[in-house]
Symmetry: C2
Subunit: 301 residues, 2 copies
């Protein structure tokens, strides 16, 4: 029995995983704790509570978080979490419960979950791209998750797509995630003078609904996004030459507006030696379970 | 004793390697052979001749070539070689001599040589970039050369640097190598109305000499090249997070014009989590030996 913990900007999901299935899960707020110690207390208490209701002991804890360094077990100055300093969360949770705890980047966790239990199962060379508020990625090369020399590899979202392009929250310009994330798509829609009414609602769903209702700007937003994403994915392919790319996150669930045109655009964007050799698919994990499964999978990496 | 064979567009270098040193070497033309069988005959004859002069048996042959697929041992439709069809050169040479023969991409060979014997020695996460007529690359991840699912990973030269940018020989637009290679630098110099006199001589050396003599366009050409190369390298870092990048090829030998400003530009181009964590250096292998050593190293990969 492994505990999987997924730390998001507002909510932290905690569940128990066995044989690639989430047996039970719960949520606590990420924000509102007195400090990082109080947050570690809250995680430990929830894991202990879930575990005590179960017959079997919990033998490991995997935590996925933004800006987490898998080599050190530290969340490094995460811009989207309440604590701006380095938080050695793996050690903090392990000290509280005496259970081996692994901390990893949330995008790497998603990659591992997809690789072990989802659409990437059995692939030795794989790329998982999470299209959310930003863009995360996890690269599997020759059957291993790529961590890099400092445990922070796999940041496709911060590859420069357009030199001197859109301002990114990272302080640089033209990063992939300023174009093909939820934030990026909303900016594209805004820049093309899309309806203010549509943008009153959060996320990409309102743009997708507008596109399906015939809103030309919304349709163009998806078209541009497809072209940018195709180049970003083709660029990633030139490095690791994966056999499959799995897209994860709400944006990728738009089969008609995104995935169908993306498959064509991606093939066109590929260097000839990769054409027809990289397939593109959508996550096969249930939305509610994916993050917890992925976090738990960190303990097996 | 390993034979290393480096196939270039005009010349093929052949040498014998022991303990990371080239003991003896020779050259044959790549062009002018009746067909690919005659070319394989010529390679086999030279390896046999060099070997017969030596005390010890040759136990392996490594061949580096453009467009070579290490998984299959085939040179795949190489645009810069005389044979436009697939040439199963590993098998062809192995059949002639009865010695295990490994074929690999020339940029991967350079990477292996640099990793085993040069400036990359001892690094588990490494990137080697060859700045030549085009741009080649070899990625070492967690102590392994990245080959990809089809044996053709590591093509940083064909990552898109500028969407809808310069026309590339690969048929696509804006590839890294259209900007930062010898060809790219000459085009930059030409586009900025550089001296026709300078461009009468081949390579980058005349532009470097002009820059050192105060030619403003030549100086600007290096400045632009540095900015483009910084972004290309920073993009590669987001994928594999290497500890070191080694630049290989004549362009990188311009310490004053290229390497010094590049070190600054590269740090500026990096995502903050990589800043100060990736060092940039120039190949430590003797020019004449590097390609042969690298090709020989393919047999140990």
């Amino acid at each position: 029995m492994i505990a999987g913990v997924d730390i998001g900007g507002t909510t932290t999901k905690i569940g128990l995983v066995q044989d690639g299935k989430v047996l039970v899960q719960t949520r606590i707020p990420t924000t509102g704790h007195a400090d990082d110690n109080a947050f570690a207390d809250a995680i430990a208490a929830e894991v202990a509570r879930l575990s005590s209701n179960n017959q079997q002991p919990t033998t490991g804890i995997g935590i996925g978080a933004p800006n987490a360094n898998q080599h050190t077990g530290i969340i490094e100055m995460a811009p989207n979490l309440p604590w701006k300093h380095d938080v050695p969360l793996a050690r903090m949770v392990q000290d509280r419960l005496g259970i081996t705890t692994v901390l990893g980047n949330d995008a790497n966790a998603a990659a591992l979950g997809e690789w072990k239990y989802g659409a990437g199962k059995g692939y030795k060379d794989l790329l998982i791209v999470t299209l959310g508020t930003g863009v995360g990625s996890g690269f599997i090369v020759n059957g291993q998750l790529v961590l890099g020399s400092h445990g922070n590899a796999g940041e496709l979202g911060h590859m420069t797509l357009v030199i001197d392009g859109r301002q990114c929250t990272c302080g640089r310009k033209g990063c992939v995630e300023t174009y093909v994330s939820i934030r990026g798509m909303r900016q594209t829609y805004l820049e093309m003078n899309g309806s203010a009414e549509v943008l009153k609602r959060d996320g990409v769903l309102p743009i997708a609904e507008a596109a399906r209702a015939g809103d030309v700007v919304a349709l163009n937003t998806f078209e541009r996004t497809v072209e940018w994403l195709a180049v970003a994915l083709a660029n990633a392919v030139t490095v690791t030459g994966p056999q499959r790319i799995v897209l994860f996150g709400g944006i990728a669930r738009n089969g008609d507006l995104l995935m169908a045109p993306l498959r064509d655009a991606f093939q066109r964007a590929l260097l000839n030696i990769y054409m027809g050799r990289v397939d593109l698919t959508v996550s096969a994990l249930p939305d509610d379970d994916a993050a917890i499964l992925g976090a738990a999978a960190l303990t097996e990496a």
